[in-house]
Symmetry: C2
């Protein structure tokens, strides 16, 4: 059995947190030999509910759960942390523009970035789930100048999984048989689900489903999936979002499947696929399992994908402009 690692979850009393914490404690993220100390950060009004969640975690008798910290203080919640799931964010309310959402959430991630910079472990790695995830991750990164940029990521894995599922249903193939799905860009309506690289064995998926279906059915379905679930459930995606976060960190920590990659939103230095420099952008990434990742190089892109990547990149630059005053550290 390894020494315990510290795992921070913000928004721990929320719906995604409730679906996430038990699976982390069960070993679904870091494996059956890795004990964890869960550091759960919340806002003061929900600390009592968080206490109830912690009691339930105790009542699961998880052998890997070696400790819990419940706090509303970021300096405590990130103290010594190795992995941070930044789930908590101010939700979008009716009538709010995306720019309002960005401005409202920015300060949360300034504070969390500063706290991580001050007290997290040297090997800290961060996944931002709370929306607008890419720009929130950029804000946290910018406010943690002592932490290398490649430790910050935002989640496009739910979009990646949704895209896999749509394709699997269409082709009647198990999701596990696909390789090389890509989500490019921002986790927003401009994201670019790209199936042009996807294969099942030697078969190219795009040839099986046709370009018309890809453009007219697949793209809108993936883009609108979140709204469709809210409509059916009366609540936004929680367990599937938690599952995507689990997959993202699992693969980052333990390695991506041999012969495949995953979609991760990571720092763009301006040298990959026309994505602008200085934003958090979704790319196909391979993780060797040591906590690093590499952006997959030299994919040949269709013109339409290139154009869409540019549009999504421009959106990210606009989001960055909205929070420019929060990026100086």
């Amino acid at each position: 059995m390894n020494d315990p690692i510290r795992v921070t979850v913000t928004g721990a009393a929320g719906q995604i947190g409730y679906s996430l914490l038990f699976r982390i404690a069960n070993g679904d993220v870091f494996g059956p030999k890795q004990p964890v100390i869960l550091q759960m950060l919340e806002i003061p009004p929900v600390m009592a509910a968080l206490e109830g969640t912690a009691m339930e975690l105790e009542d699961c008798a998880f052998p890997l759960l070696h400790g819990m910290v419940l706090t509303d203080d970021a300096m405590v919640g990130f103290d010594g942390t190795n992995w941070a799931f930044l789930v908590g964010a101010f939700p979008r309310k009716a009538g709010m523009e995306r720019s309002d959402l960005i401005s409202r959430n920015g300060p949360i991630f300034v504070g969390q970035g500063k706290a991580m910079n001050a007290v997290a472990a040297d090997d800290l790695r961060v996944l931002v789930v709370g929306n607008p995830a890419n720009t929130n991750a950029l804000i946290a990164m910018s406010n943690a100048p002592d932490v290398p940029k490649d430790r910050f990521s935002a989640m496009t894995r739910l979009d990646h999984n949704r895209a896999l599922n749509q394709l699997a249903k269409k082709m009647d193939v198990n999701v596990a048989d696909f390789r090389h799905m890509v989500i490019w860009g921002n986790h927003s309506s401009t994201m670019v689900p790209d199936i042009t690289h996807v294969r099942v064995g030697r078969r190219k998926a795009i040839n099986a489903v046709g370009k018309r279906w890809y453009k007219k059915e697949f793209m809108p379905t993936v883009a609108r999936r979140g709204s469709a679930i809210i409509q059916a459930r009366g609540a936004s995606s929680a367990a599937s979002a938690a599952n995507a976060a689990i997959g993202h960190i699992h693969d980052w920590a333990q390695g991506t499947r041999k012969g495949d990659w995953v979609s991760m939103s990571v720092y763009s230095d301006g040298t990959h696929y026309g994505a602008p420099k200085g934003v958090i952008f979704s790319f196909p990434c391979v993780c060797p399992g040591d906590g690093s990742y590499q952006i997959v190089e030299d994919l040949e892109l269709q013109d339409e994908i290139k154009t869409r990547i540019q549009v999504s990149g421009e959106e990210l630059l606009k989001e960055r402009a909205v929070v420019a005053d929060l990026l100086n550290g």
Copy 2:
């Protein structure tokens, strides 16, 4: 990869269902090589919400999830099923007596028992989670006369896990280091958490914690844990109940740990530890991993435990009397 098995979950759109389904689809119950077809049974008013849950299950891209059935018809929900999690039940409302709860729930389990008798797979096994779980399981069993009695069980695993956790906190020992916890009797306020057999290595837990703590602190804390969680969370235990159901079926299907047992409520034939004949009673059980269980024999019981077992047995007989007209098949 094995052939898929069929797993029915009733009350699938509820909170416990939401915590349970994703972990079944992830392989937490039947292992990483066992595909499943989830057959989700609900009542008509929540079929839309169930549809949303199913969309989220799809969006997890679980390789082991080979199919889903969504239905409000028990004959469809149990068709060919190998394992049934009976989670759905009418909840206890303010001012309801336990006997009201029993009467209200009985007809649900009559219908489900008859449906399982008619259409389930030959190797069907059943766990009842919905309260009053023991008597609900008895009703289902009685209405499925062609299914062997030892295929029906009710859940005392959450109590078992809660007891382990209380002891682990008191002794500052990892839960995994304990052996031989027992919950006897009914899953109700009369249940008997028995730590007199519990060991950590060669050390007897009761000697470490003392009888006074056991009686004055441990027993009431375990018995009142459900209420304490409702008070903190503003909602009843969901993820921890789902986790206990996962543990129960996992161990039944795949085997209990070597050198240990678990608590399962199973059919009492009147020959074990003074438990009355003809009720579903919690005993220490060992599962070899082939879908069978054996009640652990020849434990020496303290007089007080014997007395409490009798009280819990009498309660189960009273519950049986309330639903006598539902037990004739």
